[in-house]
């Protein structure tokens, strides 16, 4: 546990990282002497999917890298504010480490246009990466996460209920299970109205054990729906390793049992997630039914974090005292940090001659400024008007105040 508790988890360790750069993560992991090749052999094999990301324009490729950076710096900045800004109130289910799944998958989707043409994303309790990748305005999201009246959702929902139909981000969901069922329903409606949209659900390994998993996959398969299930297998659902709730090493096996084409991809490599998603989207738009993508990935922080966190306590970013049955070994965290999605994307683009190191650095500086500006804007937004809590129960009218008797 040393690593999480003593370094990232502590104020001091955290600030030290922060004052240097995002790649502070890796430096620390590197110090431990663990070293893995960038792309493992297994992952290589699955990377041989059609629609190579290599065919994309430079612009698009850089955009995917930018998305990863935006998510990463949003994470880092928010974590910093939690530990340092006494006025900050937002909490987060951190997704640092998992950025390449959201970024690659959403890059293969249609992210603008009218609501009956844009692709629709259903997300989870860990939504900010998906939201950013789908195109949600970061300023508005930051304000929402800090409960501001002018936030994306007026301060009604905050992190677990971010929603922005204008970019096809149907929304986050604090419940584990229902998401894929809702998404298959959207896919059913899409097909009925003869649109070529696709409905995508992002979910964790925890969703495998829910009763909804069976319902969603079975009906998607039977009805041949334009539905894509992106399962972010970050190995843990809250306090338990996925082997406690799933008999498969690859959860994709479970999807294949329904006759649904399924791929296992390296979730740390944005070009692999893109390739797999591109294939799935083509399948869906052609009317050839659902797909399942299992992205092996990892989150660097703990399940959840909130302001006022203290290292080593529930809600802090490090070791979780409720993790009785199973918890994350330090070596595992370090090993995964060796395969950081930011570094993989950057190295690949440099390797492909799309960017040079200086350009990558400049891009990151630019992104960082954007993120800072978003949080700064959010911090100036007005708080909510108490009585407005009675609005939006139905499309019209207000609920009656009953707390006064």
């Amino acid at each position: 546990m040393g690593y999480e508790r003593d370094d990232i988890g502590s104020d001091a360790g955290f600030r030290a990282l922060n004052t240097t750069s995002r790649r502070g993560f890796l430096r620390i992991a590197g110090l431990a002497g663990v070293s893995l090749s960038l792309v493992s052999a297994a992952a290589q094999a699955e990377a041989e999917i059609g629609f190579w990301a290599k065919d994309l324009s430079n612009e698009k490729l850089v955009d995917m890298f930018r998305t990863i950076l935006r998510i990463r710096w949003h994470e880092r900045t928010m974590a910093d504010k939690m530990l340092s800004d006494p006025d900050y109130r937002g909490y987060n289910h951190f997704c640092a480490g998992q950025e390449a799944v959201a970024a690659g998958c959403c890059a293969a989707l249609r992210n603008s246009g009218p609501y009956d043409q844009i692709d629709l994303v259903f997300s989870t309790h860990r939504p900010t990466g998906h939201a950013i990748a789908k195109g949600v305005d970061m300023k508005l999201m930051c304000a929402e996460n800090d409960f501001r009246a002018t936030g994306l959702n007026g301060g009604y929902g905050a992190e677990m209920h971010l929603s922005d139909p204008s970019v096809g981000f149907v929304g986050a969901d604090g419940m584990v299970g229902p998401g894929p069922v809702l998404a298959t329903g959207a896919a059913f409606a899409i097909r009925a109205r003869e649109s070529d949209q696709v409905a995508v659900f992002f979910g964790g390994d925890g969703t495998y054990a829910t009763p909804h998993f069976h319902s969603a996959l079975n009906n998607a398969r039977l009805l041949g729906l334009p539905f894509i299930y992106v399962l972010e297998n970050n190995l843990y659902h809250q306090y338990a390793h996925y082997s406690f709730s799933c008999p498969h090493t690859d959860i994709a096996e479970a999807a294949r049992a329904y006759g649904i084409p399924a791929r296992v991809v390296d979730g740390q490599d944005v070009f692999q997630t893109y390739n797999a998603m591109h294939e799935a989207v083509d399948r869906a738009r052609a009317g050839n039914g659902p797909s399942f993508i299992e992205a092996k990935t990892y989150r660097y922080y703990n399940h959840w974090g909130a302001p006022g966190a203290t290292a080593g306590e529930l809600g802090a970013f490090g070791y979780d005292p409720l993790a009785i049955s199973s918890f994350r070994p330090e070596r595992e965290v370090r090993a995964w940090m060796q395969r950081d999605p930011v570094n993989i994307a950057r190295a690949t683009l440099i390797n492909w001659g799309v960017l040079d190191a200086g350009q990558a650095e400049a891009l990151e500086t630019e992104v960082r400024a954007e993120v800072d500006a978003a949080f700064a804007w959010a911090a100036e937004q007005p708080l909510c008007n108490p009585e407005d809590g009675l609005m939006h129960v139905y499309a019209e009218g207000r609920a009656i105040a009953r707390q006064f008797g």
Binding site: N153, V181, A186, A192, Q197, Y394, A395
Partner: protein
């Protein structure tokens, strides 16, 4: 204007809305969307609109309710018909999604969806799971969903039009005991509002408040009471949420006697809410509730029919309250 059953009237509304909106879908499990009535064409939504829009599923009511909710979120109107056996499985989706998403997204999500919830007809012989009438309260306590329970074919059709046109999710309770009820219903679309009770008879001695499957016994008892000279005001709630309090509160302010009639279990039946709202607003009135006892319905017809509220019970209780 043609004589129609509850189900024919409802499907006529659904058919009209589906013709007007080619994106609208219908999901069913056991009860195919088919109805007929003398003098009118047979309605068969499945053959008319095809299986891309009208589909049956396996025994998975959770998926049905989740799927139409997702359809709504995707921008399409949708409806489903849930057999009473499966209602319990739909609860999470209604509680945490259908009812809350508009609010949780600050008004961004809209779920223009209708959930037809079949309630058993409380037929004797089928015991605890197949003769119960019990989920009305669970739905009405949830927020963000409109829960209606029409008691006549006319209301059923008009409320179905209103429900399908509403941007809010609507739980549309179908008490299967009303299956045989026929009445003249206009052939054209019309709306009955989703927030108004109906005064079925006027009178100043006693107010009887009921809804759905309780209306028939309430009206029968009222007729007998009126024949004896009592002034009976029978109110059909029609809507459990948002309950139209003004109508029954004004009535009890006049009659000072309130009898509620529910076919559902006594504890926390809709009548409890009616009495509580009235008691908060009217002084000096007297109250009584009729309901199914807090026990599962037994299979034996002898036991069950003794426990199920009937017109005699309403008549006798009203008399005692007046007397």
């Amino acid at each position: 204007m043609t004589e129609k059953s509850w189900m024919y009237a409802v499907l006529e509304a659904v058919q009209a809305e589906m013709r007007a909106d080619p994106a609208m879908t219908w999901i069913f499990e056991l009860t195919p969307p088919v109805a007929s009535t003398p003098g009118r064409p047979v309605i068969n939504l499945e053959t008319e609109f095809g299986r891309k829009r009208v589909v049956n599923t396996g025994i998975d009511e959770m998926w049905m309710v989740g799927a139409v909710t997702g359809a709504g979120l995707s921008g399409s109107r949708a409806a489903t018909y849930i057999p009473y056996q499966g209602i319990g499985m739909t609860f999470q989706m209604l509680q945490n999604h259908a009812g809350k998403l508009r609010h949780m997204t600050g008004g961004k999500a809209s779920i223009p969806v209708v959930y037809v919830m079949e309630f058993t007809g409380q037929t004797p012989g089928f015991a605890g799971q197949h003769s119960d009438y019990e989920m009305d309260t669970a739905f009405a306590h949830l927020v963000g969903i409109r829960t209606v329970v029409p008691s006549t074919p006319y209301d059923a059709k008009g409320m179905m039009h209103a429900a399908l046109r509403s941007p809010d999710p609507v739980v549309f309770i179908y008490p299967a005991g009303l299956r045989m009820l026929m009445e003249d219903v206009p052939d054209e679309p019309y709306e009955v509002p989703l927030d108004k009770a109906a005064v079925r008879t006027e009178g100043s001695d006693i107010t009887i408040v009921s809804s759905g499957p309780g209306m028939q016994i309430s009206l029968e008892a009222a007729q007998r009471l009126q024949a004896e000279g009592a002034g009976v005001e029978v109110i059909d709630l029609r809507v459990l949420k948002e309950m139209d309090s003004a109508t029954f509160i004004n009535s009890v302010a006049k009659t000072k006697r309130l009898l509620t009639v529910d076919m559902s279990y006594y504890t926390l039946c809709p009548g409890a809410e009616v009495i509580a709202r009235t008691a908060e607003n009217v002084d000096g009135a007297r109250y009584k509730r009729i309901a199914f006892p807090d026990a599962p319905p037994p299979a034996s017809p002898e036991m069950f029919l003794w426990m199920r509220p009937d017109a005699n019970h309403v008549f006798d209780a009203a008399r005692r309250l007046i007397g």
